[in-house]
């Protein structure tokens, strides 16, 4: 069925045969995907389906970032982790799950998490970055490092019964700072640990993030740059929204950017967002 002149082994052809048959994807999409690398920041509710679907689909190299350990209260939504991994690091659990699905995957774990000091160095090694984190300072760090190194950023978020999804810093679309130059005031923020989330909502958003990452990595199709998907899971309503373009005054992606690959490490993200890099411990639940 498939013409020669490609780089795929017989095993790869068997494994990916159903994707090779998709006309708009095909051998060239699969080959490009297999030579690409994707960094997924956050191995929680969003990162679980992102990592599993990227591993299964045949991304060449997957980088997985998280500095947390698996807890029982994660398992209602973080389907990449199993009970047997409670207490172990999320990255080691995720690596094990990804290799279980696809042992031909190259996967690298970053168990110290992403911060201003290491973001540029790590992100510069990947073609596509997926923001699957749960806190505001890390979202600004990832954004700025993606802009500084020229990487498209697939950004997802979920809380309660709602989800949001877009692609930043791609095809002259906005970056995260173009949309949100000033951080949301602390008093108005909500977290999964305080406000909860129905487990399948990050599942849906994460699966969409994997789709966008696969399209970016394989060069196939149109992605969500300059568009945002808003999901209301309670009534299964979706808004597909048209976003502003890149802001030429943006301190990150503007014409005279102030945050660069060379100085990002010294930007005080925790002070800027008035919050810490890790999600707080949940309050104990009383009866």
């Amino acid at each position: 069925v498939f013409a020669s002149g490609h780089s795929m082994s017989a095993d790869m052809i068997r494994r990916y045969s159903r994707q090779l048959l998709v006309p708009a994807f095909g051998v060239s999409g699969q080959e490009k995907l297999s030579k690409s690398s994707v960094l997924v920041v956050g191995m929680g509710g969003l990162g679980s389906p992102v990592a599993l679907y990227l591993a299964a689909s045949g991304v060449g190299k997957l980088g997985l970032v998280d500095n947390d350990v698996v807890e029982l209260s994660n398992l209602h939504r973080q389907i990449i982790h199993t009970e047997g991994f409670i207490g172990q690091t999320k990255v080691s659990s995720a690596v094990s799950a990804c290799l279980g699905v696809n042992s031909s995957l190259k996967v690298k774990e970053y168990g110290n998490g992403l911060n201003a000091a290491n973001a540029v160095q790590i992100i510069s090694q990947y073609d596509v970055v997926v923001d699957a984190t749960d806190n505001l300072p890390t979202r600004y760090i990832i954004n700025d490092a993606c802009v500084a190194t020229g990487k498209p950023l697939v950004s997802g978020a979920a809380l309660g019964l709602e989800g949001q999804l877009t692609v930043y810093n791609h095809k002259n679309g906005p970056c995260y700072r173009c949309l949100f130059p000033t951080p949301q005031p602390v008093s108005t923020r909500q977290r999964c640990s305080d406000n909860g989330v129905l487990g399948v909502v990050p599942g849906i958003i994460g699966a969409f993030q994997a789709l966008e990452a696969i399209k970016l990595a394989s060069g196939v199709g149109e992605t969500l740059n300059s568009r945002m998907l808003l999901l209301d899971a309670l009534s299964t309503r979706i808004h597909m929204v048209r976003l502003r373009g890149r802001n030429s005054e943006c301190v990150s992606c503007g014409d005279a950017p102030q945050i660069l690959a060379s100085n990002l490490w010294e930007y005080d993200y925790e002070r800027f967002t008035q919050s810490t890099l890790s999600e707080e411990e949940p309050k104990p639940q009383n009866l």
């Binding site: 809380l159 989800g163 949100f180 000033t182 808003l230």
Partner: protein
């Protein structure tokens, strides 16, 4: 002017946990058109149940809120100066960062 307002990303908690509000907004005294700026005033005076600082800041929305007029970012249509039309939909959504 009949408008459909929608609040999301937690903002609905300020509006009795109701996400979609079909409203009839009168234009300002002696005028015929309604801008988003006027709509924000009207929401504050007629719809907002509590804590206006969770929604507004200095005559606009607070940081972290996206405003969408007919599913289009208000930055593309003039922000607070955007002029609304009959049956327009205006969505106010707070950005989420959970995962």
């Amino acid at each position: 002017m009949k408008l459909t307002l929608e609040f999301g990303g937690g903002l609905e908690l300020l509006f009795g946990s109701v996400k979609i509000h079909k409203v009839d907004v009168p234009p300002p005294e002696g005028e015929t058109k309604i801008t988003v700026k006027h709509l924000l005033f009207w929401i504050r005076n007629n719809l907002l149940k509590e804590r206006p600082e969770m929604f507004l800041k200095e005559k606009s929305v607070r940081p972290g809120v996206l405003v969408l007029i007919n599913d289009c970012d208000w930055e593309l249509c003039g922000m607070t100066e955007a002029v609304l039309e009959e049956k327009d939909s205006v969505v106010f959504i707070s950005t989420l960062h959970g995962g």
